[in-house]
């Protein structure tokens, strides 16, 4: 069933939700949010997209195979843990870096963010795999 209202609204909503999910991902370390929560919002966005425009459209929009997302996410998570190797600290120790920004202020980034990005990708990939399998099976 194709609904004009749904598909038009979806185009706006999906983008909005994806931006929001990245926002949640980035604020995650010190404030409520994080990789998993962000990724659930992103998956909801793709689920909505799949309902409105079909699984094929989602595959086109995501471009990569969802399972590739899972594996790349896993690689990110491990890389986040392995970064501690540089400082000689035990595995998964947080490594922090303060990057001075032009115009004053500092950007405080660290390996937990890389780990969180990994979680984000793993969950989005896994949910997409399930949703797309179901969507393609049923239709």
């Amino acid at each position: 069933m194709q609904s004009l209202i749904l598909s038009t609204a979806t185009r706006f909503l999906t983008g909005l939700m994806l931006v929001f999910s990245v926002f949640l991902l980035l604020r995650g370390h010190n404030e409520p949010g994080g990789g998993f929560v962000g990724s659930l919002v992103a998956s909801t966005a793709f689920a909505l997209y799949a309902i409105a425009l079909g699984a094929k459209a989602v595959r086109r929009a995501v471009r990569v195979e969802p399972r590739m997302l899972v594996m790349v996410g896993l690689a990110f998570a491990i890389a986040g843990g392995l970064l501690a190797l540089i400082t000689g600290a035990p595995l998964f120790t947080g490594v922090w870096l303060d990057i001075p920004l032009p115009g004053g202020g500092e950007l405080h980034v660290g390996s937990p963010l890389i780990f969180d990005v990994g979680v984000y990708l793993v969950v989005v990939g896994a949910v997409l795999t399930v949703i797309l399998t179901m969507e393609e099976e049923i239709s």
């Binding site: 969950v123 399930v130 179901m134």
Partner: protein
């Protein structure tokens, strides 16, 4: 408050076991979802409850100023939710595939991997003759 939540956990587990005892695979899945939620609630309750004090440290401070809720059970539950989310999603897809491939959601009829042997058929007949009242026997 702990007592109330413990009772809720008990009721949820009882309900989920009732659901899981059914032959219907979908009912079983619902029971499982309920059961995993009950498990999360159980962890939450056994971590002791603190009223209205989120485990957040105010800006500028290094340690929490007053008593705060125990953050560890919450972290455990979040992990458990992530995991059960993945497992249940898989189970749902599997149940759907089972319905497509085997044509049934009745677990008693899923006998492709374990075909009923002659011996089992006869044993079942004896079993029924002994246990099921005569007037209700099929």
């Amino acid at each position: 408050m702990e007592v109330v939540l413990s009772c809720v956990v008990g009721i949820m587990i009882a309900a989920s076991i009732y659901l899981m005892l059914g032959r219907n695979l979908v009912k079983f899945l619902f029971g499982l979802i309920l059961l995993s939620n009950a498990a999360n609630l159980a962890i939450f309750t056994s971590g002791r409850l603190t009223w209205g004090a989120p485990p957040l440290i105010p800006e500028g401070a290094l340690v929490p100023i007053s008593d705060i809720a125990n953050a560890l059970p919450q972290a455990l539950i979040l992990t458990a939710i992530v995991i059960s989310f993945g497992l249940l999603a898989f189970a749902l897809v599997l149940a759907y595939c089972a319905y497509q491939e085997l044509g049934t959601v009745d677990t008693d009829e899923m006998r492709v991997a374990e075909p009923e042997t002659e011996f089992a058929k006869r044993a079942n007949r004896v079993w029924r003759a002994l246990l099921v009242p005569r007037d209700r026997a099929p």
